[in-house]
């Protein structure tokens, strides 16, 4: 499986890099000029097995960086917001996948969050981030400051724990015989 080797040429990123490399380089240059030290790390497809560039931003600057990407770099579409449990310190990585409808490029922003640490919400920039942040909270237990309605979205509201954390048991069933409480005030 050539996809899994560490050679950047073997990944799908090789083709994309030939096509969009210059665009990405100029965009990352603009990000570095704007944010300087607050950009922690940049992983390019030419040197790391990834399909699109990964920009690690400090947690305090992530909303500003995403806003800059949206307004100046024309990444108008938040195609995904998710997280990973790295089992290291800091524990979680939040992943923001963006797509540009004008330049047809994608870019990935990441920020590292410690356990029991809150991250600012993205709802004010992309309202669609509302449910995705709820999913991240449900699955990983990462809380978002300023989120309008941070409840569980997939699991039962009586559920204890966050199932996609690495230390959650694979077969940690919690069976409920009664259906969960319906929030009638939300039905309005």
């Amino acid at each position: 499986m050539s996809q899994n080797t560490l050679s950047p040429i073997a990944t799908n990123g090789g083709d994309l890099w030939a096509k969009f490399g210059e665009t990405w380089k100029s965009q990352i240059e603009a990000l570095k000029q704007q944010f300087g030290e607050r950009i922690e790390e940049v992983k390019l497809p030419s040197e790391y097995p990834t399909d699109v560039p990964i920009v690690y931003v400090k947690k305090e600057a992530i909303i500003d960086a995403l806003g800059f990407a949206r307004s100046t770099l024309e990444y108008g579409f938040l195609s995904d917001l998710t997280a990973t449990d790295e089992e290291s310190e800091p524990r979680f990585e939040l992943v923001y996948n963006l797509f540009s409808h004008t330049k047809f490029t994608r870019i990935r922003f990441k920020t590292r969050v410690r356990e029991n640490e809150e991250c600012p919400t993205l709802v004010n920039l992309w309202p669609g981030a509302n449910w995705q942040e709820r999913e991240v909270f449900d699955m990983f237990g990462v809380r978002f400051t300023g989120h309008p309605d941070l409840r569980r979205i997939l699991m039962d509201e009586r559920w204890v724990g966050h199932p996609l954390r690495k230390d959650y048991p694979l077969r940690g069933y919690q069976v409920f015989t009664e259906a969960q409480h319906i929030h009638t005030e939300l039905l309005e």
Binding site: L170, Y173, Q174, V175, T177
Partner: protein, 172 residues
């Protein structure tokens, strides 16, 4: 019975006669949650035609159905809903667990999936397969019909036990 109609009746036990009616006119509630549901639809359609066994009247209201076909994966969040659907069905009620997921959780031995609906509600017939073929579902239905005729389903056993307890309380 002769052709001139001189003996126009059969002798039978009332319970057997009622069970004969039950087994030949089952009204299924199709609880299809995944790919097994598609196979169940194929079973209903003309190629396999579940109507040949008198079970073509699909009812999406539990009050009108007596056969619960659980076709597909039951998540833990769905489990209480399945239970309330089963509870709302009138007695006697029969449950056909269709496919690996409904019977045992199947390949989904993870935190979010109920490990077999028999942990939640009593099941009469398990149909194996992933998904089972329509022939398998029909075979399960025929087996269930035999069980109903003999009074072996969970619901009928429960009813007999209740009647027995009532008789003993009355001292008959």
């Amino acid at each position: 019975m002769s052709k001139d109609g001189s003996i126009g009746y059969l002798t039978t036990r009332l319970e057997d006669f009622v069970n004969w009616g039950r087994k030949n006119a089952m009204w299924p509630l199709p609880f299809g949650t995944s790919c097994c549901g598609i196979e169940m639809m194929a079973t209903m359609c003309s190629d396999y035609d579940i109507a040949r066994f008198g079970a073509e009247a699909m009812r999406f209201s539990p009050r009108q159905a007596d056969l619960l076909i659980v076709a597909g994966i039951i998540n833990l969040k769905m489990a209480p809903i399945l239970k309330s659907v089963y509870d709302q069905m009138g007695d006697p009620k029969f449950v056909l667990s269709m496919g690996a997921c409904a019977s045992s959780g199947g390949i989904f031995n993870v935190y979010s999936v109920l490990q077999g609906i028999d942990t939640m509600i009593p099941v009469d017939v398990y149909v194996p397969g992933c998904p089972p073929s329509p022939e398998g579902v029909l075979h399960g239905l025929i087996r269930l019909q035999g069980m109903v005729a003999r009074g072996e389903t969970n619901s009928q056993k429960r009813e007999r036990a209740q009647n027995e307890a009532r008789r003993q309380m009355k001292g008959v």
